[in-house]
Symmetry: C2
Subunit: 199 residues, 2 copies
């Protein structure tokens, strides 16, 4: 016996999401059937709306429903600093911390020769164009992840941008706040010692 067609199709759709296997998809599908009708319709509408109404900001590459995005056109932000991240969701993570008020630039990935991803596959040329067009920018903060690929991308960007006389910085590496030294990995401890600050 097979599931009725509408359930089977819904299970298939749920299984396309990351981290959701057939058991979870089945559970979600049966849950959906018991949800109230309005919630299901809102869900269906938000799916298509998210796909159709969102695009990348032509300036910074962040995901937005207007162009330029809310951050790029906000006059109250510090337009002299650009923070470079790998993915749109990183913008939100950093902006939530509440301490950074400059602009962003989203690369949509990192350099990864092993996956065949070179500079031309990333949103790098538009960053360089931005720096060329706007002489006011004084600092580029490279906030790629602390992975080998993230580091390599940061080094690559620094080499491109520094000659233009713009300061290029990198997020600090060290112990996460609230973490135990006992459980920190060796690389993190090495970076924490290297980057020690005076009290």
């Amino acid at each position: 016996m097979q599931y009725p067609d509408p359930i089977a199709k819904l299970i298939d759709s749920y299984m396309k999401l990351p981290g959701i296997g057939s058991k979870t998809a089945t559970r979600l599908a049966f849950f959906t059937i018991d949800m109230n009708k309005e919630d299901v319709e809102t869900f269906a509408r938000s799916l298509t709306a998210a796909k159709n109404d969102l695009h990348y900001c032509s300036i910074c590459g962040n995901i937005t429903d207007e162009d330029p995005c809310a951050i790029c056109k906000d006059p109250s932000r510090d337009h002299k600093t650009i923070l470079v991240v790998e993915q749109p969701k990183d913008v939100m993570s950093i902006d939530r911390s509440g301490d950074y008020h400059g602009l962003y630039h989203v690369l949509h990935g990192v350099l990864s020769p092993i996956d065949g991803r070179g500079p031309e596959d990333l949103n790098i040329s538009s960053l360089l164009q931005r720096l060329k067009d706007d002489a006011a920018v004084g600092e580029v903060i490279v906030a790629t992840n602390a992975t080998p690929e993230g580091e390599a991308t940061a080094q690559y960007l620094a080499r491109l941008i520094k000659p233009a006389g713009i300061k290029v910085t990198r997020l600090a590496h060290g112990l996460a706040v609230g973490s135990d030294i006992e459980y920190a990995d060796q690389m993190t401890l090495l970076k924490a010692v290297e980057g020690r600050t005076e009290l």
Copy 2:
């Protein structure tokens, strides 16, 4: 800064699903934006279809897109046996095992005085009606879960059905196939010893 409206709404919708918190919902929403358009549209359509096209079979209470359901109207199945389960998804689990070829009846829950769920809240009266209408039924297998509520519901059904001269059985309790005695809980071991079979 807030997420653009379409993302925020999609995150809210994902968060309505069981076991999905705000971090996972955000990850799923960003994943959805990068999915291909056709898959997203299929997903949206299957959501509304699953909600609109499915209902409960008027005979057995299973979820179906036709009435009576495919199982109830299948003449090749053994119409003399009815297996009673708590939820529609249990039907599929048992049917997949491939050994049972009778009919089903879905209670949509178990008796649970603590939650105020009595016999009238379950799909019990239609089961009794079914047994009354169809004199051919010779056995009712109660396959409610091996929880206190499932046990109580099984006992309750047995007391209702047995007087009509119909055999009422319960799924065997014991060690799961492939499991270690070392890790089995006491109740399971007790049931396994009680229900021992001769070799």
